[in-house]
């Protein structure tokens, strides 16, 4: 078991955002988390990576309890979050952005060439633009950069928060193709998406979140046939 979230409840002040949420990610899986705006999808990712701390429940990563640890202790264990707004660093070049991905493990004198080759193989575009400042990239390229930067941190589990948001349809399918390719390199993925159909196509397992609670769980096949999912998320 790579990640297991057990009965996690989270509150922002007086407002409770997550109710007794349990989910797990096995090694090699692509797990997708579906749900409407405000259902608590991003909250789960941010709680897992230690930006928020639950008031109840436990989170285990690779056999270690992490729910009380700060983010800068969790990330070096092999967890990476690519946040919702991509959060590229506009004042740094593409290359420098990628360098920032390595701060969790890189010590003085360590080479990053192999890591760079890996992300440039996934995203050849970034190689061309490596000396360009990140603000000058297009939305699709910024998503590539944010994902690549996450991979640079050598994660065992890569968490992607709505990677397809705001992208043109052609780029969206590109994003999901990349997700499958990342999975092939041995990195597990926890994917939060609004684009349910695409997400279910690449996922090995899926959860549906409704107002802070896990409402459904199953294989993509099951969920694609589920009437409720069809009506609410697939627009059929």
């Amino acid at each position: 078991m790579l990640l297991s979230v057990n009965g996690v409840s989270l509150a922002y002040g007086a407002a409770q955002a997550l109710f007794d949420v349990s989910l797990k990610v096995e090694e090699g899986e692509v797990v997708t988390l579906l749900g409407a705006n405000g259902a608590g999808k991003s909250s789960i990712l941010k709680t897992v990576v230690g930006m928020y701390h639950p008031f109840a429940g436990t989170i285990e990563f690779n056999g270690q309890r992490i729910e009380a640890l700060p983010t800068d202790r969790i990330v070096p264990m092999g967890l990476a979050l690519v946040p919702e707004d991509r959060g590229v660093f506009p004042g740094l070049t593409v290359f420098e952005n990628l360098q920032m991905g390595t701060v969790s493990w890189r010590r003085r004198g360590m080479k990053i060439d192999a890591d760079l080759d890996k992300v440039f193989a996934l995203f050849p575009r970034l190689k061309e633009r490596q000396n360009q400042l990140a603000w000058s990239l297009s939305g699709g390229e910024q998503q590539m950069l944010a994902t690549a930067r996450g991979i640079m941190s050598r994660p065992k589990l890569l968490m992607l928060d709505e990677p397809s948001i705001g992208l043109a349809p052609l780029l969206v399918s590109q994003v999901f193709k990349t997700i499958s390719e990342i999975q092939k390199t041995g990195t597990s993925i926890l994917l939060v998406e609004q684009n349910a159909r695409m997400a279910l196509n690449v996922a090995t397992r899926a959860y549906v979140l409704e107002t802070g609670k896990i409402a459904l769980e199953g294989s993509p096949k099951e969920l694609l046939q589920n009437e409720k999912v069809k009506n609410a998320y697939l627009g059929a």
Binding site: I74, V75, G87, P90, G91, M100, V103, S104, Q132, L133
Partner: protein
């Protein structure tokens, strides 16, 4: 290549600043040049805090005040020479930076800006009222001429070489910060705090560190000021002057070290150049700044980027806007 080019520009600037005192005959202009350098150092400090890391510090002058009083007191009461007073001032300014930074930065955002205003006012009142230590409203007097070994710097001309030396050091330090791992982390925190945290960067630590480093620049600037005036007046370290330092950073080009240097020089001398306007000069000064901020949001330095990209576009295909050049 990129660094060679930027160092070339710094070298040209340095040569110009070295030649300048040979042609200046007015002690007042020499005094202003010294003041301009002090403001450049202050603005470089604010650039680390605000330009790179994105925290609005409106108490630049409070830190230079701490530097000025510390070095002044060390010189007057303990008889320490300039270099030791400078070190003492930098250390004390950094300690204050840490003391203010630790609790306020956790709050963050606009609150931080308000907290720094409050801190600035508190420091001003302390300077003004802690008479046994600071000399109170009368100020701290009796600072001897700065001396480096046997060299006593009595004129604004000789003092200028000390200012310039410290300027070169501080520009170098600012550049080192910018291109180091630390500077990238600062820039990352400014760009997206969530993303920086998600990569395992301790953003709180980096913000406090940026604040403390910024305070160190204030300590250097304050010491230069105390020994230039040989008198420290509590009325100097006001919010208005802190706002002026912020304007220097904005007008020059937030985040750009050459830009900030240009901004500080420009805003030190602009009021002098506008003096012929008599009563209207402050209005013109304000209007000028307004126009720059409106039409050049990237500061005066962005003008250079525009010219260069147009020039490049004319020669080659209007390809990618590579601001960084080839590695």
């Amino acid at each position: 290549m990129r660094f060679m080019r930027s160092y070339l520009w710094y070298l040209i600037g340095l040569v110009a600043l070295l030649v300048l005192p040979q042609v200046v005959s007015s002690p007042y202009i020499m005094f202003l040049l010294n003041m301009a350098i002090i403001f450049v150092i202050l603005a470089l400090g604010l650039n680390v805090v605000f330009g790179m890391t994105g925290m609005l510090n409106l108490a630049s002058l409070a830190f230079s005040g701490i530097g000025a009083y510390t070095s002044g007191i060390l010189a007057v009461k303990l008889g320490l020479p300039f270099p030791l007073a400078l070190i003492g001032a930098v250390v004390v300014a950094m300690l204050f930076g840490l003391m203010v930074g630790l609790p306020t930065i956790r709050i963050g955002g606009h609150y931080l800006a308000f907290m720094t205003i409050a801190f600035g006012e508190i420091m001003r009142l302390i300077f003004q009222n802690w008479t046994p230590v600071t000399g109170g409203a009368l100020g701290l007097s009796g600072i001897k001429y700065a001396s480096i070994g046997p060299l006593v710097l009595k004129t604004h001309w000789s003092y200028y070489h000390l200012s310039l030396t410290l300027l070169v050091i501080m520009v170098y330090v600012a550049n080192r910060i910018r291109v180091s791992k630390l500077g990238r982390a600062f820039e990352a925190v400014r760009g997206s705090e969530v993303a920086a945290r998600a990569l395992g960067i301790n953003t709180y630590y980096h913000k406090v560190l940026a604040f403390v480093l910024g305070a160190a620049f204030g300590g250097v600037a304050g010491t230069l000021y105390a020994f230039l005036m040989r008198y420290v007046d509590p009325g100097t370290f006001t919010f208005e002057e802190s706002a002026r330092v912020l304007t220097m950073v904005m007008v020059g080009g937030r985040g750009s070290i050459p830009g900030v240097i240009i901004g500080a020089f420009l805003l030190t001398f602009l009021p002098e150049w506008l003096r012929f306007l008599k009563d209207y000069y402050m209005a013109m000064y304000g209007l000028g700044i307004l126009l720059i901020v409106l039409f050049l949001p990237g500061g005066v330095i962005s003008l250079w980027d525009k010219v260069r990209s147009r020039f490049a576009a004319g020669r080659r295909a209007p390809a990618a806007q590579t601001s960084a050049g080839k590695r």
